[in-house]
Every structure is written in structure tokens, then in C-alpha cells.
Amino acid sequence: MDIGGVLENTILQFIGFNACYYAIAAIGLNVQFGFTGLLNFGQAAFMAAGAYGVGQTVTIFGISLWWGVGIGIAYAVFLGLLMGMPTLRLRADYLAIVTIASAEIVRLVVRSVKFRDQFGGTDGLSGFASAYQGVGVDLGLQPAGEYGFWIFTFSGRNLWNLLVGWSLVAIFGLIVWRLMKSPWGRVLKAIREDEDAVRSLGKNVYSYKMQALVLGGVIGSFAGMMLALGNANVQPDNFSRDLTFFVLTGLVIGGVAKVTGSIVGPMLFWAIYAFLDSLLRELVDKPVRIGDFTLIQSTDIGSVVFMVMGLLLILLMVYRPQGLFGNKKEMAFEGR
């Protein structure tokens, strides 16, 4: 068995592109879930907003790619207002239900035949990322060239994606870290702990919650933009409900209400995923059978690994709800 290969995959996924856009999404989700106590279970919809924002520019609207950042943010703000307006005055569960439902509808709409001309149907959108890749080439990273050392050898294109992605992680991490130390951030945390107390101090709770929801959503949309630019395409089925759940799992692994948690958590999520996946692939090189009963074969590995990730989420919430870096007190809010 190739243990070295398994570890190599694990390390590469720890710092890889998947971990990077998950981290951006988790930073956004942390603003809502961790700091404000808003149950946004539709982060995938915000990511789709960003991804389709950049995707539509060149292919649908025929404008420069860079407008896509603005369009993506606009979509995310719109979604945030749509989800927030009916629910943020109500108990926390309602937001959870509406966000999970909206995310599903967003996915159905963008993959539908009806709106194929706007969103590209099930094929999604592609062929818009050349301007973005061009900047990397201008900076001297040849797309086919090899850079790096030892196992950390990337093609110029991947290296460019990683550089941009992790820079965004750092920028948003810093912004959120700074914001949460500000009076504004303290109000958010107070809302999470006791909404009525904050209201009695004369703060407009509804407005603060809406700001947090929209800010988290906009950060989430950058994760979607990064995903779209990095893959140079947008696939509607990337933005399934599971995406939200996995970002949330990553966040919980790292620890909610901590910026470090929201960055390291998704990295660990992908490292664990890659470890289990490559390990199983090594072990199950041919179908494992007991008599004529097939226990597991290579096509099952994906679902088995995700099953274990689900179990991991449950065990974490039972035994260490604060994750790696979190504070248990900050995960004790009731939400009703």
C-alpha cells in the first residue's frame, strides 16, 4: 500500500484549492452562524450568486469579466434581503427553513431549461475566465510551467488560483477579525447571546441581523467567484445542499465564532476527506466481497467517505461542539 501517496494527497488537499474556497465560504458563514447566531443553511445559494455573477459577464452579457465581481455581490445582497426580510423578525428556525429552501430553488432555477439562456442549464457556463487567467500569465506564471518544490509542485495555473484564493482568505479573515473586535461586532455577539437585552439597549436588532446576513452572504459569493474562476466554469450541481453542509462541517471542525477556526476547519475537512478517500482507494483496489455479497467497490468510495464525514459532524457536536479553536460558551446559544 502506498502510504506516502495517501499522505501526499492529504497534505495537498490541506492547502489545496477546495480548502481555499471552502474557507472563504466558511468565513462568511461564521459571520452569520458563529458571531450572530443566524442559521444560514443556504450558503450554497450565495456561492452560486457569486459564481453565476462572474460566469454571466462574458458569456451572457458580453461585458468584461471584472464587472462580474459587482454583479455577484449584487446577486448576493438581493438574496440576503430576500431571505432575511420575512424571517429575521421571527424565531431562528424560520431563517434556517427559508435559506435551505431558497438554496434549493436557486439551484433548480439555474439548471432549468426555462432559464437556459441566462444560466446555461445543466451544462452551466464556461469560457469566461481568460481575462482572470491572463493576469496570472502577465505576472509571469506560465499556465503549463511547473513551480514549487518536493510534493508542492503546481502548474502555473493552479499556483495562480491558490495565490489569489489564499490572498482572499487572508483579506476576508482580517476584515472579519477586525470587524468582530469593533463595537459593531460586539453588538452582533450580544444579539447571539440575548436578542431582547440588545433590543432593550435601543439597538435595531433586525437591521444588525440583516447586515450580518448580507455581509456573510457577500463573502460567500466571493467563494463562489473563486470556484468559478479557478475551474473556469460554473456547474449548477456544484451548489447542492451538501455544499452548505460541508462548509458548515468545516466551520464546526475549526470552531465557530473564531476566524482561525473558519480558516483551519475547512482545511482540515479537506485533509480528512482526502485522507479517507485515498486510503479507501488503496484498500479497495478490487471489490471486497463476502460470499456473493459485495461490501464495497471502488464506485462506492465517494458515498462511504461522505458518510464518515456526516458521522464526524455528529460526533463533533456531541463531544466537542466548540471545535478545535472555539469557546464552548459561544456555541451554547439556543436560537429561540
Partner: protein, 449 residues
């Protein structure tokens, strides 16, 4: 099988710690599914192959595509230069698998002389189809040939409206049945159970696996309901009851249900596979005309049975001691407890009966459409819309709201909503009801924020 499950549960009962028992519970569920799924799927061939399917285009009573397989058709695969790679004859599933040397360009040709007498290829389906190398998404590339005329709906408007309402009523009854548990669990414990859709799928899965091993669906259905109830029991006893006792917050519990949902869904995907499969009994029924609607005996039976079950549930809630206790706990746990109601017992009963009803709903849905690993997940959001409309936490609200949502979703296509987006109106309802009347149609006006 049941003894095995019961035995596992008894074994579990000896343990104390919440998370540990939950893990064991998961193992038990897994063992149950594995044992049921004993008839293993054949291992797929290692190399590339082309799967040719020949189908007779037909529509069932509901106007849904219901293509019938055509057996005994000769198929030839040629490579780019016209040399023959392989031949085969379609089996009783209308399919034949022909191995090819690799991902390259091929021509697939069927011998029109071997089609059943009097049948011809459909106008849109030529006898020869090109397969390009990059169209191999997986190792198996499927090529379809169709015979018979392309079917298109040609019914009058009244018939279409009546038909959609009949379908809507059936969907509504199923959603109502599935959401009673969801709403009552919320009402009594405050927990929004995102794994409730998986309880629905669980029923259909158990019924399917039993059915697949030769048990008639009429026997498999009640067994699946019992299994569903047992799963609900163990969810509460080894999971959420302990979490409540340990003081794990509601938000954490909600995230736990997300984890359960991910886990169970992938367990189903692993053991059941990604494709939709129908039950073995009562398939391919021909519809009978009743007034303006055409409905198969199966769908009619499902509708009537579902209606009877829901009436029984409503009467139980309204008139029996248990029903009254349930409503009392769901209204106010502390007040109910202070009048001598054992609220944790009531919660346990709600978990069992809610999960059993969800499982039954899953079996019905599986009969109505077909069984798939994510069937419950796709119903979950409709259930949420239903119970919010009816009033979160109210038992009768779940019945009424679920029914209304089901009917609205099916009939929305009449108003020009594309079929692929027919779930979208449910979201519109959800948002509107939250803006206008957040307590729902049957909920009492109270502060919910």
C-alpha cells in the same frame, strides 16, 4: 432480520453514553441495511463498454413517460473505419452491453429487421448513431433507440386540470403524512429535524430491499413502517433524549440532524445505488378512466389509503387521551408536565409514530413515483413549506398545510410554471406566509420572534 435489529438495540440499551450509543445505532442501521441489501449488485466491467437500450415510447395514465423495453433486437458496434467491434441482442430489459477496446469514436447500428413485428423506429431515432470518444463520461456509454410514435399529450383543459388536481391530492396526502412527525417533534422539543427526509427514504428503502428479496409489497410496506418506527424510537432514545438530558443546545442538535442527514443519505447511496428503481409489484398498470381523470388502480389505492391513515391520525389526536396529551405537550411542555403528563414519554411516542408515518409516506411515494436514495431529501423542503403554512408545531396544521402545498405544487404547472420548477411556488408560499401570517393558518397568534 427483525430479531437481529431488536437484538442490536437490546445490546445498545446496556450502554450509557450518548455519542457512543449513537455510533452503535448507526452501526445497527447499517447492519440492517446491509443485511437487507444482500442481493448484491453485479460488479461492473473494468473496461469501457457501450450500453445500447431499445425502448418503446409510451405514456402511462398520468401522461408521464413510461417507456417499455424491447427485447431481441440485434445491435452492432463498428469502429471509426467501419470494422465490426461487437454484436449483441437486447435482453428482457431492452438493453445489451457491448465491450469496446477504449474511449474512441464508434458507430452503433441496430438491425431494423429484428424489431418486433409491425414496429418501426421512431422518426426522431435513426438506425445508426455516432458515439464520440469524449462522450464517455463514465466507463459505460449509453445509447438509446426509440420505437413507436413520439407521444405527446392531447387532452382537453378540463381533463388536464382534473388530472393535475388528482395528482396534487395524492402528493398532498403523502406530504401531510410525512410532515406530521416533523411538525410535532418541533412542537414538543423545539428541534427542526433536517434528517426527517431520510426517515421518509428509510421506509421506501426497507420496503424496496424486502421487495427485492421476494417479499410482496403488501407485506413489505407494514414491515417498513415498523422498521421506521424503530428507527424513530432509537433516534430519540439513543440520540436526542440523551442530548436533551446532557443539555446540548438546540442549535447543536439541529447541526446533528444535518450530520445524520448527510450520513444516512450517503448510506442509502452506497447500498441502493444512484438510480431510481420501482417496486416489483403493481408496476406498469394501465389507467382506468374515472370521470375526467385517468388513474391506475395502484395510485387510486394509495390515495384512498393515505386519506384513511390521515383521518385516523386526526381522530387520534382529537379524541384519544394520547392525542390530547400530545397536543398539550406540543402546546406547552412545562404546563403539560405540571398537569401530570409524562412529557418525555409523549415525545418518545411522537418520534416513533412520526417516523413510522414518514416511512409509510416513503413507501407510498415509492409506489407513486419510484424509489431513489434522495427521494426524502427532495420532499423535505415541501414538508417545511407545508408545516410553516399550517403553523409550525401544530399537528392539524401539518396535515392541512402539507396537503395544500402538495396540491399547489402539482397544479402550479397549469399556470405555466415549468414542471422542472414546480417546487418553486412552495418557496413563494413559504415567504408570503412568513411575511403575512408567520404563525401559519392554524397556528394561534402569538409572539414567534
Amino acid at each position: 432480520m427483525m430479531q437481529l435489529v431488536v437484538g442490536t438495540f437490546q445490546h445498545l440499551a446496556g450502554r450509557r453514553r450518548a455519542g457512543q450509543t449513537l455510533v452503535q445505532l448507526v452501526v445497527a442501521v447499517f447492519v440492517a441495511l446491509v443485511a437487507l441489501a444482500g442481493v448484491a449488485a453485479p460488479a461492473s466491467a473494468e473496461g469501457e463498454s457501450i450500453r445500447v437500450q431499445v425502448k418503446d415510447q409510451q405514456r402511462d395514465a398520468n401522461g408521464k413517460a413510461n417507456n417499455q423495453p424491447v427485447a431481441g433486437v440485434s445491435v452492432t458496434v463498428l469502429d471509426g473505419s467501419g470494422a465490426e467491434i461487437g454484436t449483441g441482442v437486447t435482453d428482457d430489459k431492452g438493453a445489451v452491453l457491448i465491450e469496446v477496446p477504449g474511449r474512441a469514436d464508434y458507430v452503433v447500428r441496430i438491425d431494423e429487421g429484428t424489431l418486433p413485428d409491425g414496429q418501426a423506429l421512431s422518426a426522431e431515432s435513426p438506425a445508426e448513431q455516432q458515439v464520440s470518444a469524449d462522450s464517455f463520461v463514465t466507463a459505460i456509454r449509453t445509447v438509446n433507440f426509440f420505437i413507436g410514435a413520439s407521444q405527446s399529450e392531447s387532452t382537453s383543459t378540463t381533463e388536464r386540470i382534473a388530472q393535475r388536481f388528482a395528482d396534487g391530492i395524492r402528493l398532498g396526502l403523502i406530504i401531510a403524512m410525512c410532515s406530521v412527525g416533523l411538525s410535532l417533534i418541533f412542537g414538543t422539543t423545539g428541534l427542526t429535524n433536517f434528517a426527517h427526509g431520510e426517515l421518509v427514504t428509510f421506509g421506501a428503502m426497507i420496503a424496496y430491499f424486502l421487495n427485492d428479496r421476494g417479499v410482496h409489497v403488501l407485506l413489505a410496506a407494514p414491515l417498513a413502517v415498523i422498521a421506521g418506527g424503530m428507527l424513530g424510537y432509537s433516534f430519540d432514545r439513543y440520540g436526542f433524549a440523551r442530548f436533551r438530558k446532557r443539555g446540548i443546545g438546540l442549535i447543536s442538535q439541529m447541526v446533528i440532524t444535518l450530520g445524520l442527514s448527510i450520513m444516512l443519505k450517503n448510506l442509502y447511496l452506497w447500498r441502493f445505488g444512484g438510480r431510481d428503481k420501482p417496486f416489483l409489484n403493481y408496476t406498469n398498470q394501465v389507467g382506468t378512466q374515472i370521470g375526467p381523470i385517468t388513474i391506475t388502480l395502484r395510485d387510486l389505492t394509495v390515495t384512498i389509503l393515505a386519506a384513511i391513515v390521515l383521518v385516523v391520525v386526526a381522530l387520534t389526536l382529537q379524541y384519544t387521551r394520547l392525542g390530547k396529551a400530545t397536543r398539550a405537550v406540543s402546546d406547552n411542555v412545562d404546563l403539560a408536565s405540571s398537569t401530570g403528563i409524562d412529557s418525555s414519554k409523549v415525545i418518545r411516542i411522537i418520534w416513533v409514530s412520526g417516523a413510522a408515518l414518514a416511512a409509510l409516506g416513503g413507501v407510498f411515494r415509492g409506489l407513486d413515483e419510484s424509489v431513489s436514495w434522495d427521494m426524502g431529501t427532495s420532499l423535505l423542503f415541501l414538508m417545511f413549506a407545508g408545516i410553516t403554512l399550517g403553523g409550525l408545531g401544530s399537528a392539524f396544521g401539518a396535515l392541512v398545510g402539507g396537503f395544500v402545498v402538495g396540491v399547489l405544487v402539482e397544479t402550479s404547472t397549469l399556470l405555466g410554471v415549468p414542471t422542472e420548477l414546480k417546487a418553486a411556488p412552495a418557496l413563494v408560499i413559504l415567504i408570503l406566509i412568513l411575511l403575512v401570517r408567520p404563525q401559519g393558518i392554524l397556528g394561534r397568534a402569538q409572539r414567534v420572534g
